[in-house]
Symmetry: D2
Subunit: 135 residues, 4 copies
């Protein structure tokens, strides 16, 4: 994997059934991707969004086991592939050894007019290096 | 389709890029499913959660076009199939004729201990009728 | 009062204690104000935010009784006073006759550079009429 | 102050005006209180909610300056006073030296039936010590 976001399951994440409400998982996924852009690609979202955006084109998510208030969750993110303007990521969320969900996400780099934009060369070089050199 | 939730895109749904932040779409999907259980199956979530829950097992979502503040979105829900304890749904979100996203969702009926529970006969009968008689 | 937003308490609003999580009340307050701007002032947020914003300067909120999943809540909004760039509102949220919370909110009209902006005359005229003619 | 929660302003916190949407501030306030209960009082919310809850009775919040994507915010929490079942807190949120908001919050300790509950002696002793010994 290429980066990990550790997130304790907090009161705000949980529903009346006492487990994480799935839209909160999608907020955590966004946080994990935002952290990867800042820490691995050195292109923080607050800079990136000055000139464009990276909206999501698709998700495939399998929920394997529920998460409860107080659990410590690791969102392990792996960059799987880069296209011209697309990026394929996988996020595996675990508490200890137990997998809670696996999410496959495709992002697209766009400009301020919403048109697909080829990833900048400096970013592409970092992503190529990450894919070729998994931790 | 079997039910529709109409949702105006509000300030709270939108991100700094001026479009709907995808975790908010998942809240809308949950609202659409909650409305279907109340209006079509006559089993409102506030009753259902007294004795069990209907967590999501998986999502496949394709985002086709962004939604903007002020758009009126229709989340059109179709019941696709029922299993012993599972339910397969499709939600197609449109603003006018433009499709914004298509979500395929699998739910599982569980008891208070988290074990899969066969859908009650009265619910199963209503779902069977819906599947056999699409609007 | 000058406008009412009716909101059923949904699964997404509730916490593990089975009652509304207070940040969700603040989302509802924002929805009630957004609805008042659209329906009473005829200045929907999606238009207003093209040229400015109406951030909140202060809140005083008293929570009187909890709200539960399935309750129907009416957020009754009254315009209390208008200043040069400020607006004082009160939102009383009730389920039937029972008051759930009372919120006093002060908004400020600002331009795109964040500077206070005198309310446009057309808006001021509508607000003056509302204040002078409570329903 | 008695505890601090550091929170980078993330994409998910911001609205189309590019600043923090105020309901997200209230989620942060809840996180800061949850962290204080875990770290200072050694009574994490995941344990506390097994036998009761600590709902909010009131808020007075003044927003002094907006927060933007990428800002680092410190939520500095001070315990101001303890009553039989109540607790008065103040949260001052700053980015560097600039105060962004000041929130005065009153919590109430309740049992599983929603009745006010005197703070347990062990918690009261820790709070008394904190109030008498500000950092």
């Amino acid at each position: 994997m290429h980066s990990t976001l550790r997130q304790k399951i907090l009161f705000k994440h949980c529903d009346p059934a006492g487990i994480v409400f799935y839209p909160r998982y999608f907020e955590m996924i966004n946080d994990a991707v935002e952290a990867m852009f800042a820490d691995v690609l050195d292109w923080p979202f607050e800079d990136l969004h000055q000139t464009g955006a990276v909206p999501t084109a698709s998700f495939q998510v399998d929920f394997k086991a529920p998460s409860r208030h107080g659990d410590v969750l690791d969102l392990n993110l792996t960059i799987k592939a880069i296209g011209g303007a697309s990026l394929r990521l996988q996020i595996v969320a675990q508490s200890g050894e137990e997998v809670r969900f696996v999410a496959d996400q495709v992002l697209v780099c766009i400009d301020q007019n919403g048109r697909p934009l080829r990833w900048p060369d400096a970013i592409r070089a970092k992503i190529d290096k990450e894919i070729g050199d998994p931790l």
